[in-house]
Symmetry: C2
Subunit: 466 residues, 2 copies
């Protein structure tokens, strides 16, 4: 092929001929990223005055310096989760080795679609999913697959549960007389409604069960299942949540497992956020019962600090996944007993996101992750204590994980919004989720660079803003 119309550094030549030039470009880019991340404390956690984004595709190659300048502008105007005052979302600053993993996955550009297109990396994914299944207490025969985000992991679990319950993979849901229903807490994640919509069940198929303090009530669940059956509906799954989006609540998993088991329903645990607690001996009791799940969603892209996307779905019986979802791709060579991973999830082509996870686990070890998770819990406790000492604020807090919500007592939503903006001006980025009819300020206490000094500064800022 004639490459003369392309910049010299378009690709790295397989004989290394242009290696020096590509290396220099990598070094420039790497420096830019190190400058930005290493200077994160000097930029606000969120800028509201972002520049205009020009997406015009140039006719001819643009000079590299110009391109990197454009990249710098985009990143300066991006959210800045590395700022010590960033306590707004479940999206943390990334682990160093997950950035390396992202670069490695892109450079290797293997495809987890098939074993032939990613021999070592497909095997790594299968083996690592088994390890994680073991960590969650799932029995031999358990395993799973990665997915680009928790919404897809939940979609996969519910797809398997649906196909297993109604045998509709081939013929579809039309003509199904009884409407399939799944049950979850009122505080369960919106991706369940999305999954139900995508799966052809309809958003209304998600029954929101009464959940005092955001925890699914097992008795109310049993009643709701029985009532649905009396009503001619077809319950097929229960979704328990370990770490709700707004208050971080964890459902009573063991009790819910008992109800689901009694009713013969699939139990999916959405531990996208809270699953990280399993790494801490001190904290894992909060997940007691997760080993009874039929499937588990877990997002290392949240509390495990792995650069996104990095999510996965584990199955108690990996065979359920094979039998309940496998979509043969006839154009792929068979892989001698190894099911090509592209047949097992909603995606086909996937990059080696497993590398980011594997590298981070190697670098942190169990002990390092435990320290981070426990540190997050302790940090949340500090915020809770400080808030509890301020009678003018109202706290809404499950106490299960490192999320704390509050608002000025009896304030209008507009006051909450102004308070968020004022705190942002003072260097603290909190999110403001609508929740049970009102707007709250939410602290997600997972920033490893948010320590005692930052907590003190936060309360000074809060007191000055209230």
């Amino acid at each position: 092929m004639d490459r003369s119309a392309l910049p010299e550094t378009a690709f790295l030549a397989p004989d290394g001929a242009n290696r020096a030039a590509v290396e220099a470009l990598f070094a420039q880019a790497s420096n830019l990223l190190l400058d930005l991340a290493g200077g994160a404390a000097a930029r606000p956690p969120l800028r509201l005055d972002g520049r205009f984004v020009d997406a015009e595709i140039p006719q001819r190659p643009r000079p590299e310096g110009e391109i990197l300048g454009g990249l710098r502008e985009l990143l300066e105007d991006a959210m800045n989760p590395a700022h010590p005052g960033y306590i707004g979302h479940m999206d943390s600053l990334p682990s160093t080795f997950s950035v390396i993993g992202a670069m490695a996955a892109a450079a290797a550009n293997n495809n987890l679609l098939s074993l032939e297109m990613s021999p070592s990396l497909s095997r790594l994914e299968v083996a690592l999913m088994r390890q994680l299944a073991k960590l969650f207490g799932l029995p031999a025969g358990a395993g799973g697959v990665m997915a680009s985000g928790g919404s897809l992991a939940n979609l996969l679990a519910l797809g398997v549960a649906r196909n297993r319950a109604f045998d509709v993979a081939e013929s579809g849901l039309c003509g199904q007389s009884a409407a399939p229903l799944l049950f979850a807490s009122e505080a369960a994640h919106g991706s369940l409604q999305k999954a139900a919509m995508v799966l052809g069940l309809g958003r209304a198929a998600v029954v929101a069960v009464k959940s005092p303090r955001d925890r699914l009530c097992p008795r109310a669940l049993a009643v709701a299942i029985a009532a649905a059956r009396d009503d001619g509906k077809a319950p097929f799954a229960v979704v328990a949540t370990a770490g709700t989006t707004v208050t971080g609540a964890i459902d009573p998993l063991a009790e819910i497992a008992a109800v689901a088991g009694e009713a013969g329903l699939w139990l999916h645990v959405d531990a996208a956020y809270g699953g990280a607690l399993i790494f801490s001996r001190r904290e894992r009791h909060r997940l007691a019962g997760i080993d009874l799940a039929d499937s588990v969603t877990f997002n290392p892209q949240k509390w495990l600090y792995v650069a996104k996307s990095c999510a996965l779905c584990l199955f108690r019986r990996r065979d359920d996944l094979e039998q309940g979802f496998r979509s043969p791709q006839p154009y792929m060579a068979d892989a001698g007993g190894f099911t090509n991973l592209g047949e097992l999830g909603p995606q086909g082509t996937r990059s080696a996101e497993v590398l980011k996870l594997w590298l981070t686990l190697q670098h942190f070890g169990h002990s390092g992750i435990a320290a981070l998770v426990e540190g997050g819990q302790d940090l949340a406790a500090r915020f809770r204590d400080g808030l509890a000492r301020r009678p003018t604020v109202e706290i809404c807090d499950a106490g299960d994980s490192n999320l704390v919500c509050f608002r000025p007592r009896d304030a209008a939503d507009s006051v909450v919004a102004s308070l968020q903006a004022e705190l942002l001006r003072r260097g603290f980025f909190l999110s403001q989720p609508p929740y049970r009819g009102r707007r709250w300020l939410r602290i997600v206490a997972l920033n490893p660079y948010c320590a005692a000094a930052e907590v003190a500064a936060f309360f000074a800022a809060l007191d000055a803003s209230l």
Copy 2:
């Protein structure tokens, strides 16, 4: 938070305190990747003797040198698409700037879920999708969203088409009396069956229409639609393919658009592969009619050399996407008229895959991409010519794009498999898709480092192996 249980380089400190150490680690990792990519020609394109993969999670942090050693082993045993003899799959070696983009997206770790979590990057995605929609000839009001892989892009398009035709987002498909059907060529991608399964339509909802030489026959399509209606079924969509997986065939898009329009059906064009031709003035005529589509899948992760995953779905009327798929995530702050992108696709959390695409487009320009695409077409022509001069091989070739399949005449499948293995031993990696009942060897001619010398060497290897 107490970070003493963690390695010093676990994160890059936001005040740059440990920058030197992280920079050194990045340099080591970057060198490793440059060594591997710059030495790709010296490693086989695919190794069949991969080492055992150990996925054990260590109790304590592992030394960084050891971790990088493990990464090196994994990548040495990975598929090697940068080898000049790699002509096996649509997965190319990555553009330099897409590797930089992957690193940048991971380092920034923004979330395309919401505007607040990725202000500049969400805007970039929307703006770039508009530019691409324009390039494909879609009218004002067109736009789209990125998805992690073409399977998800096809799923999204068909989900929108389904919801629009049957209004089932809320209530689901149960009770739908007439079975929804979609029509595609016999050679259409397996992700359509998967999407139909996921969407609750069932795999059987995909009607494979007669497709001489892998091109969907418009007359047969019209007949199939009419017959299905007579049979009480509910046709709702036609999927045309621009670049089939095995022979690279492109359906007659304009004629199919006429049939779909006449029948009042949604027209989706799966241009995951062939969409790249739009960048070449010489080649784009092959896509004539794509501007009539209601939706288009396009995967820059294939013929645009962007590191995976990088795929997208464009909509003629972006409103169809908003109205047909939007799943409000109530916990997110509203974004003042900007629909948070996490509400518009099957994914929620997404990384800024748009950066890889944007950077590559800036670096290559229209002209560079055109040169690559035309180079691929010319390379395929060379292979075709050489094969045509060998009477002992049978060619199966649509001639529309840069895929060429062949097999030894009257050979058993096992002979084809042996030939593949022999060519691999000689440094050429071809895939061996099953196709119309037999096994073929497939050349995907997109390797920018496969030139006249490699083609000559390939034919020498082939002649020695036949």
